[in-house]
Symmetry: C2
C-alpha cells in the first residue's frame, strides 16, 4: 500500500491563531482588530490601521474561532437538516440545494440522517437547538404527524416536503400540480384508465398526491384514476404491478411516486410482456438520469428539488432572524421530461432497442 509514497511526516498539531495574536503582532487592541475583521458598518478605523490588521491577519493565517463568536452572539450560524435515510436518490438533490444555499448565507449544516426503521419525533431534534449547536431545524422526516398535540416545537424550524402539525412551518412543492401534469400528459396520449402507484398513505407527499388524484377523474372524458399504495421499494413496486397486470382491466397509464418503485414496476412490465408505450404509458414523479436506460420510454415530472432545499433554508433563517414563520409553496420550475431509450449507434447488432 505504500511503495512510491513519501514518508508519514506527521507535523505537530496546528497552533490556532487567536485574535489576540493578531492584536499583539500589530500593536493594536483586540477590539480594534475585531472591528476591522468584522468590517463594522460604522467604520471608524484609519485606512492605514485597517490595512495593517488585514495584512497581519492574512500573514498569520488567522481564522476566527466560531465557537467563541457563537457563544458571544448567542447564534451558532449553523442549522440541522434532518433527512430520512432512504435509498431514494432524490434526497441528495434536495440536500445539495440546501447545503449550497446555507453556504451562500454563511451557515454550516449539520446533517442528521433519520433511520426510517426507527423514526424519532421532531421534538427529539430540538435538543440540538437547546444545546446551541444549531440555530434551527429543517425537518425532512417523511411521516405525517399523528395528532396536532405535542407537536409544537418552541425552536425555529421548518418541515421540508411535508406539512407539520400546524400551518406556518411548511415548505412543500406543488404535488397537486405534479399530479395535474401527469393526468394531462396521459390525456394527451389518449389514455383514460390511470393508476397512481405511490408509497404508503402516511407519507405526506403521497397523501397530497392521492388527494389530487381523487379529484382528477373526469366524467366528461371518461378518465378514471385509481390509487395504489405500496411500500416505496423495488419489491413494493413489483408486487403492486404484478397484481395490477393480472387484473381483468389493467390501466393504460401509470404514474409512479418513487424511483425504487419504478424499478420494480419496470421489471414487472418486462416480465409480463406489457408493451410500452403502446399498451401502457409511464410517468415517474422523480426525475433521474437512469430513466433513459430502462429500455422503455418513460416521462418524468421533474420537481424543483434543489429549490425546495434552498427554500427550506431560507424559510428557517427567516425565523432565526426573528421574522414570523410562514408556509412556503415551492412552485416552479416543474416540467415534463421525456426519456427515450438510448439508440444503438450506426449498425445495431442482433436486435435494436424497443421504440
Amino acid at each position: 500500500m505504500s511503495a512510491a509514497r513519501p514518508a508519514p511526516l506527521t507535523g505537530p498539531p496546528v497552533r490556532r491563531t487567536r485574535l489576540v495574536d493578531v492584536a499583539d503582532a500589530t500593536g493594536l487592541d483586540v477590539s480594534t482588530v475585531s472591528r476591522v475583521l468584522n468590517s463594522d458598518p460604522r467604520q471608524t478605523v484609519r485606512a492605514e490601521t485597517r490595512a495593517r490588521v488585514l495584512a497581519t491577519a492574512a500573514r498569520l493565517g488567522y481564522r476566527p474561532n466560531a465557537l467563541a463568536r457563537a457563544l458571544k452572539q448567542s447564534r451558532s450560524n449553523a442549522l440541522a437538516l434532518v433527512v430520512p435515510m432512504v435509498r431514494n436518490p432524490i434526497w441528495s438533490v434536495v440536500e445539495r440545494g440546501a447545503l449550497d444555499r446555507a453556504a451562500e448565507r454563511g451557515c454550516a449544516v449539520l446533517v442528521v440522517s433519520e433511520p426510517t426503521d426507527r423514526p424519532r419525533p421532531p421534538a427529539a431534534y430540538q435538543a440540538m437547538v437547546l444545546e446551541s449547536r444549531v440555530d434551527g431545524l429543517v425537518l425532512a422526516t417523511t411521516l405525517r404527524p399523528r395528532g396536532g398535540a405535542g407537536g409544537d416545537l418552541p425552536v425555529p424550524h421548518v418541515y421540508l416536503n411535508r406539512r407539520g402539525p400546524r400551518p406556518g412551518h411548511d415548505v412543500v412543492m406543488d404535488e397537486e400540480g405534479a399530479v395535474g401534469l401527469w393526468v394531462q400528459e396521459m390525456g394527451r396520449q389518449g389514455r383514460r384508465d390511470l393508476v397512481l402507484l405511490d408509497g404508503p398513505q402516511d407519507v405526506d407527499t403521497v397523501h397530497r398526491r392521492a388527494r389530487a388524484a381523487g379529484f382528477a377523474g373526469d366524467g366528461a372524458t371518461g378518465t378514471r384514476v385509481r390509487m395504489v399504495h405500496a411500500p416505496a421499494t423495488e419489491h413494493g413496486g413489483w408486487t403492486a404491478a404484478v397484481r395490477l397486470f393480472s387484473d381483468p382491466r389493467p390501466p393504460d397509464g401509470i404514474g409512479v411516486g418513487s424511483l425504487p418503485q419504478l424499478t420494480g414496476l419496470v421489471a414487472a412490465i418486462r416480465s409480463c410482456g406489457i408493451a410500452v408505450p403502446t399498451a401502457l404509458g409511464l410517468v415517474s414523479f422523480d426525475e433521474d438520469a437512469s430513466l433513459s436506460y430502462l429500455g422503455m420510454p418513460v416521462t418524468s415530472v421533474a420537481m424543483p428539488l434543489a429549490e425546495l432545499g434552498a427554500a427550506g433554508v431560507d424559510a428557517l433563517l427567516d425565523q432565526v432572524d426573528g421574522r414570523s414563520p410562514h408556509d412556503v409553496l415551492v412552485a416552479g420550475p416543474m416540467r415534463l421530461v421525456r426519456h427515450e431509450p438510448a439508440p444503438l449507434p450506426r449498425r445495431g447488432s442482433t436486435r435494436s432497442a424497443p421504440p
Copy 2:
C-alpha cells in the same frame, strides 16, 4: 393547505436553561452542579446533593450549552464528513455507518457535500478545524491526490475509501480482495475472457482495482482480464458496453465498478441481445436491492460500507485523542450476493422472466 389543522400557535422562543439556573434553583454553586452533571470521576459529592441536582436539572429541562463547553475544553466533539456529491447510493450507506458510530461516541457530524464538478483540495476543509467548528476531518473525496507536495494537513484527518498523499491516514476497503472474489467467481462459472468496467483512472478505488485486475490474468487457466475505464454514469456504462459488444471477441464476464455504470451496461446488454448468464456473467462491485430487478441475474460483491464509515470515525477520533495516526484496512465482511430476477407468482401472464 389548512382545513382541519389547528391554529398556528407560535409560542415565544424558548428560554434556554443555564447551569446557573439549576444552581440557583438548588441553592448550590455552579461548580457543584457541574461536577454532578459531568459525573466527575473523583465524586466528592453527597448523595443527597447529587440527587437534588439531578432532579432539578431534569425538572428545568437543563441542556448543557455545547458551545460554551467546547470553548472551555478546546474540543467541539464534532467532526466533518466530506463526501462527494454523486448519485451513487453507496455513499448513503457509508454515511450511515459514520453517523451511527459518531453518535455512539458522542460526536456530532457536519456533512459537507463536495460537488464533483468543482472539487476542492483537502486543505480547503481544514478551515473548519482552524475555526474550531470540528475536531477533525473525514475526507471521502474521490480524487487521488496529484503530487505528494502540499498535501499535508496539520489537523486531525483521515481519508476514507481513498489514500491520501502520505500513508498513516488512509481508511480503505480490500479492493484487491474484491477483484479476487470476482475473478474467482467468474472462473467457477468457466469464464475466461473478463473485462473490468470501472470509473476513471484517477479515482483511487478504481486505481487499486485496476492494479489488482492487472495481476489477475492467469496463463495456466487461460484467463485474461482487460480494463475499461469510463465515466461513472449510466451513459459511461452504456457507451463502453456498446463498444465492447461490437468487438470481434466480446468478453464472457464483466465486473462493474458502480451502480450507474451497471444500469447503462444492462441497457446495452438488452439492446444488443446478449444472453445473460449464458453468454455473459455479470458482477457488480456495489450491492443494492435494485439488482434483483434488472431482469437478468447479477452477482454483487457486497463491500463492508457501513463498517468503512464507522472505521473512519474511529480512526479520526483516535487522532483527536492524541494517538498517532495509522492506516486502516477494513477487511470484512465481504461476500458474493446472487440476485436472480424476481419470479412471477403462480400462473405467469404472457411470458415469463428471462432465466
